[in-house]
């Protein structure tokens, strides 16, 4: 994409206008409402008090939320450490042409199109120790697996579910990236007698830099926002061992209707995600994955 050769035309803004309006309605207006609520105590629609940063201070001091934040960070890190390498390996082993390529693509993409609470439901049915295939199999192997009672088992199940659900996204992104590497690169490597590992490190990985970045950021954001799947699978339990940040926010906003604290929490939550994405983005740019190609 060579943007320098594109003609300058300010009228193009008119074409962008519909998008701007729709996003203004779905994103900007609600965001302003959140900011507005976060600094007020809303006793009733008519009676509101300006409370400044009180809600923020309250949320930041909430020890329950601190724990949830830690759980969330550990969860997202585990997700990245498992799903990125796994997705990459999967993309490398997917067939490249013929009916096999189509079939594998369809089978792999399937889990992405399952509604999120159905994902939870599937795994609930699959892991139950009395009626689920996974639960019963593990039990009969003599493994004391119980995801509703044991926090470690609950964590493993939630992680496994998320891996099942989202690794295909990483795989599809990497697969697309791999397909866009020109065949000449591989021929050159073959002439040089490069090993498979060398091809991976010096050709494939640098070329995948862009898609990997997107994959890491998407997985980071989405795992940080996870709500529906663990809610259905474990309900946040046992205890609150699998209760993540979104669950607290939803309880606060919808369950208890604490508008002020929920709004303050929303803003802090959003800033945390933004901060993590920004940090990771910069870090991934710096480590550079080998050669620094000038990507669009």
């Amino acid at each position: 994409m060579n943007s320098r050769s594109k003609p300058v035309n300010q009228k193009a803004w008119l074409l962008v206008l519909p998008v701007m309006l729709s996003v203004a309605f779905t994103a900007i207006l609600p965001l302003m409402t959140v900011v507005n609520y976060s600094v007020q105590d809303i006793l009733s629609p008519e009676r509101r008090l300006f409370v400044g940063a009180d809600w923020f201070a309250m949320i930041l001091r909430d020890s329950e939320l601190h724990e949830a934040l830690w759980r969330q960070v550990v969860f997202s890190l585990s997700v990245l450490l498992i799903q990125i390498p796994l997705g990459l390996m999967l993309a490398l082993s997917m067939p490249t042409e013929g009916w096999r390529a189509s079939a594998v693509l369809v089978v792999i993409a399937l889990s992405l199109l399952v509604p999120w609470n159905v994902v939870g439901t599937i795994w609930l049915m699959f892991s139950r120790t009395d009626i689920g295939l996974l639960g019963v199999t593990l039990q009969s192997l003599g493994i004391d697996f119980n995801f509703t009672g044991d926090p470690v088992d609950a964590w493993i199940t939630v992680l496994l579910m998320d891996t099942w659900h989202w690794t295909p996204l990483v795989a599809l992104l990497c697969y697309a990236g791999l397909r866009s590497i020109p065949g000449a690169y591989y021929q050159a490597a073959r002439i040089d007698g490069a090993s498979k590992w060398a091809v991976f490190v010096y050709i494939q990985l640098p070329k995948l830099r862009g898609v990997l970045m997107i994959a890491v950021l998407l997985r980071l954001m989405d795992s940080f926002m996870i709500y529906t799947e663990p809610m259905v699978l474990t309900g946040g339990g046992p205890g609150d061992s699998t209760t993540f940040l979104s669950q607290y926010l939803v309880t606060m906003a919808i369950g208890q209707f604490d508008l002020g604290p929920a709004a303050a929490f929303s803003i802090i939550y959003f800033l945390i995600i933004l901060l993590f994405c920004f940090a990771l983005y910069n870090w991934m740019q710096r480590i550079g994955f080998g050669n620094k190609e000038v990507s669009k």
């Binding site: 300010q10 609470n117 439901t121 397909r179 709500y227």
Partner: protein, 271 residues
């Protein structure tokens, strides 16, 4: 290591993953053909008393099939609206330079970073205020939050793949902008529109937090009807499994149509 051995090793890994990907789905499909009694009484790897009762129940009970209809309406509205606003914007981004173009593009994408949970509260307020609560259009519009940026991104990639000479030739041939756009340009990027529609479908069909917040009775999508059943008298596992199977089918059909372009869609986007 010789190449044949490496190939076998990779195929083995792939097969293991595919089994892992399909087992949970198989289990749900198998449960959907069992009765509740069979599910709870004994552990069978496949249905012994094969029954279609669960599917019959869903297709005859309006509170069940109504949910599917609502979901389909929501997703169609969302896809049409998202693609409609995204196409002109993507064309602008792919063909012209204008003040703030790059900033707007990235700002659009950053909307994807906001957790839907952040918007639960203001959406509830906003849509109540404008009187759109519990309508299909409310959910469709809320979902535009993440489908529009994605559509613009994907369409822009496909459009940039089409040389600008095509535009110029068309004008020389006497086409006006509108004629050129609908008669020549759109047919050229129809696979891009397909992929973008696929992603709109994907994110709108699966999303459930906002959909649940914005609906109560009239426009309730199938996803929230299913959660309601989870807490109802005991667990109606069999019906739940059948409903789950039915929610996967539209997605599977969608993938089949765009299977040749999915990977391309990712590769062409402005990554």
């Amino acid at each position: 290591m010789n190449p044949g051995k490496a190939y076998r090793k990779r195929s083995f890994f792939l097969v293991v993953y595919i089994v892992f990907a399909l087992l949970p789905i198989y289990w749900m499909v198998s449960m959907s053909f069992k009765s509740n009694a069979e599910i709870l009484s004994s552990f069978n790897l496949w249905p012994i008393d094969f029954t279609l009762d669960n599917y019959i129940k869903i297709f005859t009970d309006p509170s069940w099939y109504g949910g599917f209809i609502n979901s389909l309406i929501i997703v169609s509205l969302n896809t049409v609206m998202s693609i409609t606003v995204a196409i002109p914007a993507a064309y602008a981004f792919s063909r012209y330079q204008f003040i703030g173009d790059k900033h707007v593009f990235f700002w659009l994408l950053s909307n994807r970073m906001m957790p839907p949970a952040v918007f639960v509260l203001p959406f509830f307020q906003l849509y109540t205020m404008v009187g759109l609560m519990d309508t299909h259009i409310a959910v469709a519009m809320a979902h535009m939050l993440f489908t529009v940026p994605l559509s613009v991104w994907i369409l822009e990639g496909f459009m940039s793949g089409i040389p600008r000479e095509i535009d110029e030739t068309a004008y020389i041939d006497g086409y006006g902008f509108v004629g050129f756009f609908f008669k020549i340009f759109l047919p050229l990027i129809k696979s891009g529109v397909g992929v973008a529609a696929f992603f709109c479908f994907m994110f709108s069909w699966v999303e459930m937090l906002l959909a649940r917040t914005l609906t109560s009775v009239e426009a309730k999508p199938i996803a929230s009807i299913m959660t309601r059943t989870v807490s109802a008298e005991g667990m109606d596992w069999a019906t739940l499994a059948a409903a789950g199977v039915l929610t996967i089918i539209p997605g599977a059909i969608m993938i089949w149509f765009v299977r040749h372009y999915i990977a391309k869609g990712f590769a062409m986007g402005r990554v």
